[in-house]
Amino acid sequence: MKTLALRFRLVCAGLCAVVLAIGLGLAVGCSRDGGDEPSAPIDTALMAFLSQARALHHQADLEEQNGNVEAAAAAMEKLVGGPRPHPGRPAPEIDEVVADAYARLAELELKRGRVEAASRATDRGLEHAPTATYFRGHLVEVQGIVAETNAATLADAGRSDEAAREREHAIRLLEEAVKIQEDVIRRSLEGRDAGKEAPR
């Protein structure tokens, strides 16, 4: 009986030691890494995506200069709907480029008179810019412009009450955009004072 108890204690002690060892190793290792999954490296795939985005933006420029807003919007649709590298891994550049493309798409949809499509584009773009950045501020600003355009459309249609509510909505969105941008500017100045990456 005593032998069995001794063996049981030994087994328990061994299991505890293994669990503690794994926990200790993980804790120390994660504390060194900050515990976060490392973001994707800047590699060929990421550069290919950025190159494609750049080409599509310039293609949209040319189409706009030709007065072909629909083709310009199609270029942005291709950018936001295309494949993205490093799925499942943090890659802030990709999200920010996609968010900015949605903002431009919303502006192009507005030029085409498609207010609802513009509103959908800003909503989707905000999903890629969840934190306060210039990208999110720009998207909220475009959201406000979309609401402003919608209010004008409603007013033209004689729906003055709805137009008034939409104007209020637009004002709130534009105020929010200003607040985000102020916050970003303040943090940008603090970061520059602290020696972080400077604008090029």
């Binding site: 005593k2 001794l6 030994l10 002690a13 061994g14 030691a17 293994v18 503690l20 060892a21 794994i22 200790l24 190793g25 993980l26 120390v28 290792g29 994660c30 060194r32 890494d33 490392p38 973001s39 994707a40 490296p41 800047i42 590699d43 060929t44 990421l46 550069m47 950025l50 190159s51 985005a53 750049r54 310039h58 949209a60 420029d61 490093h86 943090p90 890659a91 802030p92 550049e93 990709i94 920010e96 480029v97 900015d100 493309a101 903002a103 950045t133 210039y134 990208f135 501020g137 720009h138 475009v142 941008q181 970003v184 500017i185 940008s188 520059r192 990456e197 400077a198 604008p199 090029r200």
Partner: protein
């Protein structure tokens, strides 16, 4: 080593020793160590028949059953005598048997009275527990180290590479409408620089 010179005449002592050996070889009753060796060799090589008288004397020398019993009793008595045991152990020690060994170890370390598990098995179990405990601790430390190395991942000599991060620091003012292409230009150029650095790092140039 000097070689023997046959021209040197024998000394008186040598001649006397030669005479003694010759006499001893001719007369078996003479006691002489050199002659004894020669006699033993001759008997081994060509044994001769014993004379009746000699044979009878040898038979008389064989111990009787009573003498053998007395000798055995004496041997037992000597075996039980501590002085005899001590002298024998000092002169020609024999290995301890297992039970005696464990009894001595248990008495020396005083384990048996405290453990209450019996003298010999208790000490063996304690030794096993100590070994297992040391093994478990060493294994746990090794496991923690391996997990740490696995989590840490990067080799110490590995050059840090640029990773994806927010492009926010590239801009110092809110975005203006119509500048989308200029923004992607700036982002692409900045990251192209990082990409080149990563390639050079991969080639071991940096």
């Amino acid at each position: 080593m000097a070689e023997r010179d046959d021209d040197i005449p024998e000394t008186e002592e040598e001649l006397a020793a030669a005479r003694r050996l010759r006499d001893a070889l001719e007369d078996p009753s003479i006691d002489d160590p050199d002659a004894d060796l020669a006699r033993a060799l001759a008997a081994a090589y060509a044994p001769s028949t014993l004379e009746d008288v000699e044979h009878a004397r040898l038979v008389d020398d064989v111990a009787s059953p009573e003498e053998l019993a007395s000798a055995a009793a004496l041997a037992r008595a000597l075996d039980a005598e501590p002085l005899t045991v001590a002298l024998r152990a000092a002169w020609s020690p024999r290995p301890l048997d297992e039970a005696d060994h464990h009894a001595l170890v248990a008495r020396a370390v005083g384990a048996a009275p405290r453990s209450g598990l019996g003298s010999v098995p208790g000490s063996a179990r304690r030794a096993r527990v100590v070994r297992v405990a040391f093994g478990a601790v060493a294994g746990a430390v090794a496991l923690a180290a391996s997990v740490l190395v696995w989590v840490d991942g990067r080799a110490p000599h590995e050059v840090p590479i640029a990773r994806a991060r927010s492009t926010q620091p590239l801009f110092d003012e809110p975005f203006r409408a119509g500048d989308a292409s200029a923004r992607i230009d700036r982002i692409a150029m900045a990251r192209a620089s990082d990409f080149r650095d990563n390639r050079f790092a991969g080639w071991g140039v940096r």
